[in-house]
Symmetry: D2
Subunit: 331 residues, 4 copies
């Protein structure tokens, strides 16, 4: 009964099927017929023209997108617990050539205009201090919190006002959209680039970089190759992405994961560290309680000394999730 992470879940059968259907030779890199469909298909999904490039990981997607917005001498405002700050092994420093992450606070790893201003307003406009060039937010956040459309809009307005780019890390974008019950466009809002997650949601090895500003894509095309991320058999990555948005598989998978997370969260609001909106559940549990759950067959990660993190995936067994919720309630 695994609730360790969604990042190692199985590959969805429809994704497998699409990959197999892509077999046979085609043009290399992104010259194949599937990669060539990405712009159109995602433009339909988002209801506006977008340019889409595949890449193998969320880290690469985030950092490549940001590298087109931020010069080496600039900075990116992000949450202090953002994935790009905490879990990407310094990839932003690499891809942005030493640009600086500027850390903001905010409940549930979400940013607000106030939190962003608290970081950027004290920066003197002189050469001794790194100047901000972009903002990065995570939808859903690292604590499974979801930005409402108006929250993104407020951040976006601030970004426009200050001339900053706006990037959205959407490793769990599907879970956010499923929670909100809105369109992809509404869940993304007015950002410049979105890392549209697929791997955590039933994919194997493909994430979509969605550029609402095509000029960014023109830069990232070169940066992707330069980073060794232009795979020669790109059709197998495109196939995953197309399968994922075909017939809303991305939403179906996310709904399933969210539902399992809610089932776990039944255990009682009292123990929850954060409201459960997407597919992650952070629960206060003593070491002994965690030991008890593990003895019952549940796998999960500790979260600090007195809590645990449970992550549901598209293939989580809802019955197991319910059982876990009950067992926690029983503690």
């Amino acid at each position: 009964m695994r609730f360790l992470s969604d990042n190692a879940a199985s590959v969805h059968p429809k994704v497998w099927k699409a990959m197999r259907a892509a077999d046979g030779p085609d043009s290399p890199y992104d010259g194949d017929v599937l990669s060539q469909q990405l712009d159109d298909r995602f433009s339909e999904l988002f209801g506006r023209e977008v340019a889409v490039l595949w890449v193998a990981t969320g880290t690469a997607a985030n950092c490549l997108a940001l590298s087109a917005m931020v010069p080496p001498h600039g900075g990116v405002v992000c949450h202090r617990e953002a994935h790009i700050e905490m879990d990407e092994g310094g990839a932003p420093g690499f891809y942005l050539h030493g640009a600086k992450l500027m850390l903001a606070d905010g409940e549930g790893a979400k940013l607000t205009p106030e939190a962003i201003r608290a970081v950027i307003d004290p920066i003197r406009d002189d050469v001794h201090q790194v100047q901000p060039h972009a903002i990065s937010i995570t939808q859903a956040s690292e604590y499974g919190r979801v930005y409402q459309a108006e929250e993104v809009a407020a951040i976006s307005a601030l970004a426009r006002e200050r001339g900053l780019g706006l990037h959205m890390d959407g490793a769990r974008f599907a879970n956010a959209a499923a929670f909100l019950g809105v369109s992809a466009a509404q869940a993304a809002g007015d950002v410049d680039a979105l890392s549209f997650g697929c791997v955590k949601n039933g994919g194997m090895s493909a994430e979509a970089m969605v550029f609402f500003d095509p000029a960014l894509a023109d830069v990232v095309r070169y940066r992707r190759k330069r980073a060794g991320h232009l795979q020669s058999k790109g059709r197998y990555l495109a196939a995953q992405l197309l399968a994922m948005i075909e017939d809303d598989l991305w939403l179906d998978n996310a709904r399933a994961a969210n539902a399992a997370a809610r089932a776990i969260a039944q255990s009682g609001a009292g123990r929850l560290m954060h409201p459960v909106e997407a597919n992650e559940v952070f629960i206060r549990l003593t070491p002994q309680e965690r030991e008890t759950l593990r003895e019952q067959g549940f796998q999960f990660y500790d979260w600090g000394a007195d809590a645990a993190r449970f992550v549901a995936a598209w293939d989580s067994d809802l019955a197991e999730a319910r059982m876990l919720g009950e067992r926690i309630a029983d503690l």
Copy 2:
């Protein structure tokens, strides 16, 4: 009848099978059971202890390996037509943080000790000139030429003498080993790191970085993550690599490709720009001759104004290759 490139050929059925067998959840990144087998299995293949990391592309494999050998202020000697110089979109500049490629000459894109010395001996040992820290050779070369064991040994001896690291770009290492009819260890010789190609040889999206010096692997582990190349479902990459070396599939595939290339080369030594040793055939052909061949259904790339490049892959049809050879002879 495609002889465009081996880089977009189909995925071998055994690779597909291994990938499917890897389905089901496992630990993320390279903590899964398959990734954990790589060191042992490749150590058996090479008859000595090696550390092996998967990565999605040859560009990343080459540059990550070199990044562990060369400081940002150093240089890498390579052939003027090496893939790292010509076709990686500046990836060495990115991964090596501005280190310099030092270009040497050599027939068939192969280096010799003399050619290397001609580059490094004139470099004054002072801070005004970039100092060499490594050598990179390609086995088989960008023109399909293969280094004999003693040729690698001579370069290796020079590298040791000068305190330089030695890297081998083995995007077509299998084709070289198949041509030589020697073991993997003999085809690699005494290099520090080998990019062991798989994608061009029937794989989908996995190359093996083989480190004969484990200290290099310890650095590259961090660099791989930092480059966004640590995929969360790494088991599907490990599966490809294990399938490829299982029962010598890598050699079988390479032998098939080499045989098809030889069949094309039948067309007559007179037209060949380079001896055909691996799976690439460079043939002098006028624009009109190329037009004729294309009308006959053959697909291939022009190579400059008066030649063409034909590349055979593991799945090339030997009969088609023979027919191509005959058609060329008929011109």
Copy 3:
């Protein structure tokens, strides 16, 4: 009556004299007779063998030294208000190729072993998180606080234990040594590299990078040139450094500055934000009080909304400093 900063004070007559004496042609770069004396003269000063390189600015000195200790994928622990974090325009990101500054807390911008451990102990030893490779401390600190020998020793012991390099930003090292009344060696303690400040202490354009580990100097020699910091007429920089340590000019100048700072600080411990140990005085003053002082002819910078920073230099007029102290007391 300027108490704005020591970084724009006049050049000391002895420094001018030494520069003029260096006129006439000599070997370029650091091949001249003066640059060649640096190692010996500073080795005498520190009572142990050191390698010394000149450079024009403290930012370059700090970042070049750190660049030899920290790989691009590594990190440097420093205080949250350290100069390298706050005031160097992102230079560490540039020189360290994207390595990360890891921010620690500590009173008066000083680090302690506890504060350092609070930063590094939670870092998981895996590739997802940047690993620390060095510590940087500032002597005297950005708030004019001085590390006692045993405080540096405790940090040094931690650095050794954890295998971390230790760098000391000594932009105001002379002020610290003068306050402590100890030798240069004792004020530096067991660090690997020291940025020995000269510009703020009566120099014009030279700082000394002092390497207690000569292997670091061997790397930095290349990095300095690569950063465009190897001036062709280096003898004028060497002359400044030699003049500064000749007959303890560095200590005389620092003592004068410290004395002026103490005179300002007479104004009453109640207003002081930090104990005055070096040549900086941070005093709580309302906007109106600051206005009053400025009307009396004193120049200084605001420090946030309710305080001011006064910096004394080697050429500060002690009488003016006393008068300032009295005026503040009168407020």
Copy 4:
């Protein structure tokens, strides 16, 4: 009798005088009254509006200027023997974050539109190859050759046509202008940025980055600080630059150096490797001939096995230069 290099010649008395006159406190960095005059004074010199920043070395001037024109994934066309390629210790790789130098041929280290096209025309407009973003030429060239106004114009026209930036390394710009007998504006032509040399021409430690496009200066301001090149007592650098252009000292000094070079070159056109246009003389001399000259007290560098390089400076003794010319003629 030193003809080793102009890079270590004495500092001109007028420069010393200006530096001394700059003593006394002023605002730090480039906020002082002298630095603030640079834009206006150089705008007068060039007869058009320019933005000017000081920096200590030609390497930094060249690389900072180029860093504002070329993204990390781009390239710079320069001569195969350009200073940025041969003698800057890899600084372009550092400052341009791994961008590539694209080497062109050309007599006397001068580029022509044809030579540039020979480099850039074969570059496929795809992501596998680094794309050019700028051209860098050296006035006077590394072999002391000078671009006529129409030669610069032709290169400039090509740059505009292809959307490339154009940078001029003017370490010996004064020598070129003096040779041409034209205004600064005419010697520079329609470039985007010029490294206006001062150190080799009687300065101590200041070069001027002259930006004809002020947007470049706005970027370089940040980059200069980030590179540790924003000296706190910048007034001493500004003083040098202002002294140099006051009353055409820059031209007077260059004329003196050029005259001395011509005197050396009297030795006979037959031995000259390059026409002598600026202040460098490359002469074919056997080892024995060089030995003879050295015994006569002349100091100079060998240039390969069968030649020598003589460089005259502003303070070269014309009588000594003539004597050298005669001695060479006597050989």
